[in-house]
Symmetry: C3
Subunit: 304 residues, 3 copies
Amino acid sequence: MTITQLTERLVASYARLGGINHLDGKNLPSKRAIAAITIDLLRLLFPGFFDEKLVHSSEIKIETANRLHRLVGGLEDEVCKSLEYAPPADVPKKEIRKIARNRTIEFLNSLPRIRELLQTDTEAAYNGDPAALSVEEVIVSYPFIEAIAVQRLAHELYLLDIPLIPRIMTEWAHTRTGMDLHPGARIGPYFFVDHCTGTVVGETCQIGEHVKMYQGVGLVAKSLAAGQALRGLKRHPTIEDRVTIYAGATIMGGDTVVGEGSTIGANVFLTTSVPPYSLVIQEEAKVKVLSKKAREQAAMDFQI
Amino acid sequence: MTITQLTERLVASYARLGGINHLDGKNLPSKRAIAAITIDLLRLLFPGFFDEKLVHSSEIKIETANRLHRLVGGLEDEVCKSLEYAPPADVPKKEIRKIARNRTIEFLNSLPRIRELLQTDTEAAYNGDPAALSVEEVIVSYPFIEAIAVQRLAHELYLLDIPLIPRIMTEWAHTRTGMDLHPGARIGPYFFVDHCTGTVVGETCQIGEHVKMYQGVGLVAKSLAAGQALRGLKRHPTIEDRVTIYAGATIMGGDTVVGEGSTIGANVFLTTSVPPYSLVIQEEAKVKVLSKKAREQAAMDFQI
Amino acid sequence: MTITQLTERLVASYARLGGINHLDGKNLPSKRAIAAITIDLLRLLFPGFFDEKLVHSSEIKIETANRLHRLVGGLEDEVCKSLEYAPPADVPKKEIRKIARNRTIEFLNSLPRIRELLQTDTEAAYNGDPAALSVEEVIVSYPFIEAIAVQRLAHELYLLDIPLIPRIMTEWAHTRTGMDLHPGARIGPYFFVDHCTGTVVGETCQIGEHVKMYQGVGLVAKSLAAGQALRGLKRHPTIEDRVTIYAGATIMGGDTVVGEGSTIGANVFLTTSVPPYSLVIQEEAKVKVLSKKAREQAAMDFQI
């Protein structure tokens, strides 16, 4: 088997299986470009934290202007590609570049508002974790800050009806933090997720203020045969203010509402609403104390 | 304490603790080279998706030939290193390079077949997730596609008895996606894992068609004193066709079979087989509604 | 809206929301520099494993000396920055550089001791996992080895009262492995966590010898209103020798002690102590076998 033969077999499979090629199509947004843009946006949101050298306020204005200048063109190009990929209804093709520019500016204009939200999240993280020595430690080392900053950025692009880019941004953060916050989720201020890994927040979630969650929490949809037919419907739960959800709890369904001030214990699987101030926990686990020999046996087959 | 003294103490520890050095040994496959090879393989599997510039079908043949030419030499070198590290039985040392070349070609020859499987997985992901706007969005942004593509590649190398490389490939994907799919697992078509983070599929798992899973699902082995003595035995469960497994469920043991069409609820710990069309869920969690004061007390000690 | 206007609005927000800027402040340790230092430290701990070219013992002394020379200056700079950020009590500012140098040397001097611990962890990983073909495979491909090596390094810096750096190091490993081992945790020899993703070990945990855990295990603190007031108190559990903890189990609270030789089943939520040789598992999940039609209905609303 020669390279030429391998090439022919592969190219034949490209022709045969069209579904997973992207040939002659519209250019898709570049994951690499969007990663670089996201990093620049994080530096604009948290000035001085992610730069190698110390930033002085005397320089901050020129630094910020330069960073915005670098950013705006590249972001506009990616927005344009994603709008060409899925054009808004009744928009003439020649208008798309202009729409891309306007939405890019509108998005950048939301950065101060996003900063206000992120300051509440940072405060919640610091106050909520005795292991945190300072706000600086939270910002430089907590994966949560990166994950929520990217989600709040992506949420603005989502509200501006930019396709693909918001999801590429949150998946970039998902890879780095292990937390999958969908750009569509509506998340209130003073949000904190400790440890992050494995936590999932679905597209149509609504999360109130001062909500605290841990690793491995799922706010998810039921898996229904209907599948794509459900797009656009509210499929994910509503979490009211001041709710705490411990590690590994899964809360499912668009009609499920967790009332304010409730606590959900670890590894609970909740598929129905609970009233305010509920405490929801699993049955106590069985504890059996066995002889060393009996325990080894039991460890093998989990009989009691 | 000088650098010289630090050096001497460290070098002495290298001599004393041989187990975790790799000196004078055979050259091991390079993680960095294998990461680069894996990225090239993903581009061959999904042409046009991960390239910066748009690919036209007029160029695809020459692009593919060039990519294969670049790939084949480097891959053969790594395969050769891993075979020298653990030589096949009764193979003269001078034969190893030839065997490495043959297995490399045989592996590359499986790419069209792997693409057929990946098209079924992509279809399952798109159909199974109302949040997905298009097949393109699934391929460019879902970690699942990367994880399953790498596992299906690594599985072919595993079947060709190439040591080390398959596991290095799947651990590369594990780092990026949070999902640990062992190269040995036999996974049927139309597979989909939503969100991926924390999901583990063990070496001797058998998974049927149209199986849908979520984050944090473990298809794992019992932890037995026997340890290494169990190598080669079936230690992980069998999942039949059209099974759905919700987040955080752990299914354990080589004799455990989940019958076709079953649904396993979130956070279930299953160590025995269940018949077709089973619904397996935990006891409902206890819900107690408390006064605000009582709730805060309860949140502290989890008494009810 | 022009770039100039965007710049002014952002700079105004920097002035208004001081909490999440780092301007005119002390220089913080550089995440990028600490990542590079951590990689060099891993190469010193596992010589020959992460180098592209084969290392011969004839070269190892000079290689080690060169690596230490490269390392020591950069590490001392970062230690100095973090001590200037949070100076030790009653230390004159001009002493800080000297203290940084001494603690850096003291830290590097602990590497042989760390290697002794890592050899026990590597042995535990190899013996505990039948899927492991060799110790080499464990070291080159298991995320656990990287995670525990970084934690044992960071723990030494933590004991030397170096701020920020230990946490930046363990979060670097958290991003790569999905496992969040706090630098403060006291972890005995022969430790092994299989798969790693989602596992969290809190700051004040104490873990004995020969403890084996799986993905998604949380050794965590209760979430209390007290928050920062609890800093320094023991908030996380104690795990005695030869305990096995299966995937997704959450063990909570500073007074919680899991007695030696115990086994904790998957997805258990444990908030109280258990005596030696306990077996702790959830109630068996309910299994109901339904007609195909009934099952589809049930899958939608999880009624039984």
